[in-house]
Symmetry: C2
Subunit: 444 residues, 2 copies
């Protein structure tokens, strides 16, 4: 009886399983930073946070805009007369002006080569919520999605935890620069089928997190053809689309399906967010954009669980509707990201550390510390990571937390610190690499 | 092959089942209002919205406060220097000042007779998100929760849709004023057990939606004793706690468990929100407050799917930290709600329509139109409702949409219109009742 009572008190399987994935160096590194934050004068020996993909390089532009636009907010003297109207707004379609402004912004980010229907813009709580929403719409517990590895550590939480859906990795290798190919997808698909796993779709992050690379038109076409042939879904996570800073432009799946004659649009879904491209993760703007009417309708009903604050919708509508501001922000942001990326990667090259070639986007680069590993194992990678966090005092993220297959790679976020801190961080890695090399020499 | 392909293209069971519950007169009435909104001068023949529980009576106080506090927002000239710091904030614990301010506000609403630990305040996307979160934490698909009926129409969506959990109604009747008793709960519990349903807990909405009544100390104690004995969870949805406008004060479960010697706190959870008590549903502030450590930790991980916008957290922190403002707002809000409730219910009494006695809270009353029904069936109730929406042009909500057991009751929201519109609405019902009575007389 006593035992029965205890067992009945038990919480849900979700609350008590470990599928959330929080127990990862990816998150542990954040705590290391939280415990001992770097500050140039107050704590110059602290940990520099390079484990968080934040876009902090253009806040001066936003701050200036706010000061010039007091009507943009319902919490100013000038805007307070709209407070009631906005504070009570809870329609899960979102403010009409907001969905229009977001659609237009998404078009602009894609060079106005595609159009987005504001009626297909569905709100969710950040990309986190958007990812979970699309899975809840497409798959049942036990179903699987193909996900190229290395992939975002929190996909376990977003895609799997509460939905009960599985992740079936598509293996990518350094031998071809971690490029995704249809052949690799087919291998993973067949493997899953052989294990009687019901694969419901393929998830692409384009630009890739953690690689900082984009998919080319040819690859995208081959993957759209694949999902069309196999009649499975294609979810394109394009939350870093405005961070493509090289001359090579970003190609959205929206552009690809425009060019294709044979394509079942009911299978195509885009995940978007303003957390990375604008740099406002705190505002929790996630977007599900689906070409499938039932998914739009179903995801919209789900948006009741993660609507964007109407205060935030209102403010962002004003900001994004200022086309001059948006154009300037987008071009300035790319310039600053390109410079920061260049400074870091060339600074590392000078001490013999290479980063993934062809990296042209994202708020991070994929750094190869393989030569510093004592042995080519994930244990050695984790050991090296501990030294980097504890002694070098940089929170970078080990490749194993991204479910990479080859030890020695690290994701380094470069856009969440100011210039001065970036210099400190770069110097710390360079010094570490040089010292480590020397020790290695001495040992010989 | 063709058939197999089609079946594989199918979306999830969640996206394609009808468990969301949107197909209800409760929601249909909203659309009737949306299509033909009342406006005193521009559309005086339009539909008056009395189907939405909004608290619009004190926005003048908020607007005034905003004008006097330009530092409260990050989107003002005075506050813009904090924009970056807030826009990048995405810790799922929430801004420390925010959780402190919310805990303090919750205490104030409960007359400072209880204390709340800010570390147990977990954010969710509105009460909608908070309700779903607590279910995801406590129960597995197929498990059930006891819910006294009549209950909130959207509980189907919140508690059941994506979680796969069932609602087991506890029948309440007009014979004792719809009062909830331990005996009624026990009947429902036994019935569920006899059907081999695993009951994981009891959900109380206190104050009740749609009844507008509160639970007394004795009843609450008996129900806490019941869940303790049966070792099942107790979820107290207290989102209307600041709307108790009568002299009889609100008693939170937090106060009850303080007084009880034998109570397993691990089973007690509170759902809160700022949508009703403050009147800001658009801001999507939902709170899970649990006395169970594992639930706090698990719900917090889930809050990644429905965090409150940091812009909104920041603004509300400023507003709620102004104790003078909060005290005045709470007392003024109660006064205005009491007056509006009194005007409506006495105005209806004068034409022979009674509302549930003992109603002392909420943003609605429970109106008995049983005497106007042609027969005592839900078909007749729905027919009468159609006439009220289409001809009287008032969107009230029929009791059947609240899963009531007795036809003829309607929920009437009284706090989402201004004084002038309230008068129009009252006159429309009164005229309808009088005309209907006359017709009835003529027919005799």
């Amino acid at each position: 009886m006593e035992k029965e009572n205890r067992s009945r008190q038990v919480l849900s399987r979700i609350a008590t399983n470990d599928q959330h994935g929080e127990n990862s160096p990816y998150f542990h590194g954040w705590y290391a930073y939280e415990r001992n934050r770097f500050h140039p004068t107050q704590n110059p020996q602290g940990v520099v946070q390079m484990g968080l993909a934040e876009n902090q390089l253009c806040f001066d532009l936003v701050e200036k805009w706010i000061k010039e636009n007091p009507n943009a907010s319902i919490c100013t003297r000038e805007g307070a007369n709209k407070f009631k109207e906005i504070a009570i707004f809870q329609d899960y379609h979102g403010l009409k002006e907001f969905t229009h402004a977001v659609a237009k912004f998404m078009e602009k980010v894609r060079g106005n080569r595609v159009t987005f229907d504001p009626d297909r813009i569905v709100m969710s709580g950040g990309a986190t919520g958007a990812n979970e929403t699309i899975i809840f719409c497409l798959a049942d517990p036990g179903d699987a999605f193909l996900v190229p590895s290395p992939y975002y550590p929190a996909f376990g939480r977003d895609l799997r935890w509460r939905t009960g859906v599985q992740i079936a990795p598509v293996d990518c290798h350094s031998s071809n620069g971690f490029r995704l190919t249809r052949a690799a997808v087919e291998v993973a698909y067949k493997k899953a089928q052989e294990s009687n796993i019901n694969v419901k779709g393929l998830i692409l992050t384009n630009p890739s997190n953690p690689l900082g690379t984009t998919l080319d038109m040819e690859t995208l076409k081959s993957l759209v053809a694949f999902v069309t042939e196999e009649n499975i879904h294609l979810i394109c996570d394009e939350i870093y689309s405005a961070t493509v800073f090289s001359s090579q432009r970003f190609i959205s799946v929206a552009e690809v399906i425009q060019e294709l004659e044979h394509c079942n649009r009911d299978l195509i879904h885009i995940i978007y967010s303003l957390s990375k491209d604008l740099g406002f993760p705190g505002f929790r703007v996630g977007i599900v954009y689906s070409y499938n009417d039932i998914v739009v309708s179903s995801a919209r009903k789900m948006s009741s669980f993660g609507l964007v604050s109407s205060q935030t919708q209102h403010f962002l509508t004003s900001l994004l509707s200022d086309e001059e501001f948006v154009d300037n922000f987008l071009s300035e942001s790319k310039k600053r990201l390109a410079k920061r990326h260049h400074d870091f990667t060339t600074g590392l090259e000078q001490v013999g550390i290479s980063c993934l070639k062809g990296s042209n986007s994202g708020l991070f680069f994929w750094m190869d510390l393989g030569p510093l590993l004592k042995e080519q194992t994930f244990e050695a990678e984790l050991k090296l990571w501990r030294v980097i966090v504890d002694d070098v005092r940089l929170n970078v993220s080990p490749g194993s937390s991204f479910h990479g297959l080859e030890p020695g790679w690290f994701r380094v976020c470069f856009a969440n610190v100011d210039d001065q801190t970036a210099e400190v961080a770069l110097e710390r890695i360079r010094t570490f690499v040089l010292d480590n090399g020397k020790k290695g020499d001495e040992g010989r």
